[in-house]
Symmetry: D2
Subunit: 360 residues, 4 copies
């Protein structure tokens, strides 16, 4: 039972509230002798960092990570890696309005009902700020897999739908993704998205998004039936990200509409080279990786903290309305991209180690 721990062998435990002194995580089970520097982690954190464009929250956090343990002379030692990120730009007074009111669509209500107490400042533990710790853990996992599997190993994520606007995933380009503020993989749609999101923001509203993750260089055999299936852990991980409401692997929900011959990916062999004719499975069959690209997508609902006035109640059970000012992302889905990547890196390493334990 692990309320705040994720993983089985490679495990990380996150802690910290949005407006507390710091947030952080402890990584356990990391293999020894992996080169890791703070800068390796910082690169990933910078992808998620707030305040980088007008399309994300204006909270200014440099999110500098510090390694407190588990690394000696630049190498992991096999002992727990403690990472800390200090909080800096907290404006707790912005949150006086939500101190006693529950934002519709937010976890304010459920946290309060569950625990009878909550740190309301900046959303406290509910805040998406917690995901910075995941990104840090994911950076470590990535380094391990790059050493174990080699440079062909790569996880890359993108926003493939912004509110009502999709993109053409056939035009997916890894380079494009890092060159626009939306992690959009399709250059041709970026301008349109920009206009759309500006209008959403101006209207004091927010929108949802779909994020797609692709993992390459994955060996066949990762994932363990029946209750440690790779896709099961992926679904679990993605659903654990704030505001996520749906997860697909490969053809996902759409597979319901296919017939057996449309859906099943035919196989052929040419010399030593095995080939699948399609990838409806998203690289996973029976919960085990096929060696194909792993394809996962998930939906992030629109940010709940919006300027538009909404009906709600306060903690005394009285009817009221709420309009949230603060500094919120108009589309929280955008910054979910590096978080999704991080979670997938962690799961893949975890299953890599599990497979090594039982089967190698």
């Amino acid at each position: 039972m692990s309320f705040n721990t994720f993983g089985k062998i490679f495990r990380f435990t996150t802690w910290g509230e949005s407006h507390g002194p710091a947030i952080g995580c402890v990584i356990d089970g990391c293999p020894p002798n992996i080169n890791i520097r703070e800068s390796d982690i910082q690169i990933e954190l910078d992808k998620r960092r707030p305040g980088q464009s007008k399309f994300t929250t204006q909270r200014k956090e440099d999110d500098k990570v510090k390694i407190l343990s588990g690394v000696f002379e630049g190498k992991t030692t096999g002992t727990p890696i403690s990472l800390i990120i200090y909080n800096k730009d907290m404006r707790s007074r912005d949150y006086e309005t939500i101190k006693n009111k529950f934002r519709p669509g937010h976890a304010d209500f459920t946290y309060f009902k569950k625990y009878g107490i909550r740190d309301y400042r900046g959303g406290g533990r509910q805040s998406a700020r917690e995901t910075a710790s995941r990104v840090a853990a994911g950076a470590v996992a990535k380094k391990v897999l790059e050493k174990k599997i080699g440079k062909k190993y790569k996880v890359v994520g993108a926003v493939t739908q912004l509110g009502i606007l999709g993109c053409d995933t056939k035009k997916w380009n890894d380079q494009t993704i890092r060159k626009n503020p939306f992690f959009c993989p399709d250059k041709s749609i970026v301008k349109l998205w920009e206009k759309y999101l500006l209008s959403i923001r101006k209207s004091g509203n927010s929108c949802g998004a779909i994020i797609e993750l692709r993992a390459r260089g994955i060996p066949v055999g990762l994932g363990a039936p029946i209750y440690s299936k790779l896709d099961m852990d992926i679904a679990s991980a993605m659903m654990s990200i704030n505001a996520v409401k749906g997860v697909n692997v490969g053809s996902g929900m759409n597979s319901a509409q296919l017939t057996g011959d449309q859906n099943s990916d035919e196989i052929s062999q040419s010399g030593k080279k095995l080939k699948f004719f399609s990838n409806n499975a998203g690289g996973i069959l029976g919960g085990i990786s096929t060696g194909q690209e792993i394809i996962v997508s998930f939906a992030v609902k629109p940010t709940s903290s919006i300027l538009k006035s909404r009906k709600t109640i306060n903690k005394f059970g009285e009817n009221t309305t709420i309009s949230v000012k603060g500094r919120h992302d108009p589309c929280v889905g955008i910054r979910a991209v590096p978080v999704g990547e991080a979670m997938l890196n962690c799961i893949l390493l975890d299953h890599y180690l599990m497979h090594k334990a039982q089967c190698k």
Copy 2:
């Protein structure tokens, strides 16, 4: 780490292969002094039992469950409950064709690559036959929650889309579901589905489905942030069911297309009665139950074992084709309904106990 165990406090471990002597499960962590008889479990198993209509596999299994431990004089004792179901109608010779060939879209290939060995008879451990054990565990969980929460507690599932044909979920009727062979909640569409599925079967093909689950009478507060969120465990559980490729909670993937004001469920209070104006959240916010109906849906891909000839390879790495005869469900999604219900019962009990441990 629990390859074949599901749950945290209320845990079940399943075992058994499709054509072995028996399958079964061991339930651990069940509260004591709950009335439970074999017939309570049998009722649930009978919903999933094969051979009940021409729309499911013709394998004849009476699936009689036997309680081997943990129940004394009709009551649970708090010790592990071991359940066994003997396999009867095995025709292993039907599987000679797949002995050395990998069915496209099936786990044949990945099991073999992972373990270097597999029991191919009837799909061995990959077979959906394993899900009978889950249904048995779910029956026990249901009995516990009915005692703890009361009769208002209810989980009910239905097929809401059969291949390309949806249904009108506004016409959802619990009584209707048990009166047609598709677990369809909308009486008006049943005839059409029947025609459609017969044509699928006749063509030696198969189709996918979407299953929706609704849980009522759920107290507020179940689910624990950050890595034991209720929706996280639900996503994990549903994705663990054979052939599932996508999971939605509430508005699910569709929430990406909504704006903040469309999506967030407004709240009001009238006396002691709290009311949400909508349920896009599917009854879960921040991973914690709101007290609303919990709504989950998941997609089951079409059965991989089809008569239609498909390109594949054999275990010697040679190109070949395969056409699977056997006795397979034309839409394996139908029998996933009681399985989904069972998993949801188990998760809800697990979180009920977890909540009791930490917060009561």
Copy 3:
């Protein structure tokens, strides 16, 4: 949280009551492609089987084990191995006397107070009969380690003290152990022990024992700091055996009386060969195996079910006395030898797999 499951990667879950239809266990995480037959397990079970001499219970159980899953064509497949042993010689009427009375020193009282219900027949779940399942699991672990490490791998246990009578552990002889009904390693003391135990039995009393386990051929590096230390898991495992009250590793409790220079085992190297001058550590330093012989001992208290009359209360809170007839071991410690061996085999395999996962 695992009430009835032991282990982390190689895990077994036991179930069953003394007078239920059967007992058994499910082994999860076993590596694939290990040769295992029912006879491999039966050999170990036969060491523990009751009714083999006048020094153990006269209950007649042939304890025939049946493999229900996880083994295909003589080899493990990596899927759960379900083992079952049917109960045969139950005389539940012998237990009418304890139906409502609590045996002093027995778990009758605590089970009843904890759960509010208990299966009193033959001690129900409290019965040492549960340990047969452990022996079965240990037999599988042993097979795996013999394949992975080689035939130099060996775990052997013995009774080194019977009540007030010790033995000379310097005369330890593996062959001797199997040739007397006490698992005594010192031939010279066997006759005396026989007389002593007969007198204990005649007087309607019982006695305790100390069991020592030695594990050879252990690679350096097994065990993971800080909370998966090898000795920690060993202490836990031994303490989980019925009636065990103390556990020592190496010099154990006696190490309190040593000085630093007496206690610490000096090291030298001769060519490729590393040598320790002593083994006070019992083969474990910092929770990690040193490569030396692992030495563990544990104390089993005297059987609580004795003929001698004892003061107690019944479940209605009334004072009474109890004198237990039934068929009880005069020294339950004797049959703890194969159980201790089994637990040590399981732990060593578990740590072997864990080490492989993180460090290889």
Copy 4:
């Protein structure tokens, strides 16, 4: 699988090396609405703090703890509690001598062999400094249980044997324990112990100790068969403390020498009051608390880092000798008292919550 995490529901994860920037722990699963201040934790840490007498290490650490998360306006919120203690008085150059040499009896050798790398400064992760984190976690557990059970709840530990010198446990006095530098419960022996330990220290040697823990106010019913027995978790916890080699519950190893009628604790009832005539069981039967005082003892071996010259090898496999200067405790067992208390507090809370989950 939890290398650096202890517990099941109330869990803590420790991190940090002796000479890194800080050490700390993350506590998960703590119930909400418990009053906790840094000073509550500091009181316990001060008991373990080094440099308080000439009988412990002269390293000067004020061991000030800081709460980084999980507490809001003086109360726990149910979210993870992150605690940090900065390291201050590190003299890493003292450790140059052990950089390449393995101290006999120390984990230097095994850590290096396991991981192929180790932070040798101050013993790195092997250092008993890690136990400060446990004491901090224990302080939180204690506060929770004092609220849940009431002030009658109390865990108190003492050194009952110092090297070759025992004490009279019949003279146990809780007040005495805090008034001498040995945590000795028997005033009459303190002077003698003082002389003895001074002579040990002067000779550049060290000695072992036995610590006894007593827990009062424990409700009946804590502990869960078969593999979450209370005594099993206690044995595991005590054995996880640095340098511990043996653990007893109640009569412990000595129970081997008793007969059944000597050992089993008779019971009587007088009105509502249940009474046991003795406590050989140490308050635990069948792994479940009886409601009596819980009595546990464990042996701590003598400190391995001694001035006396010892034969060893270096990491290049060459024979050498070692004499450790540094600032080491002549009897590391003394400071194990608050650590043992802390671990017992954590276990009791964990089982309290587990019992609540399943049985209330």
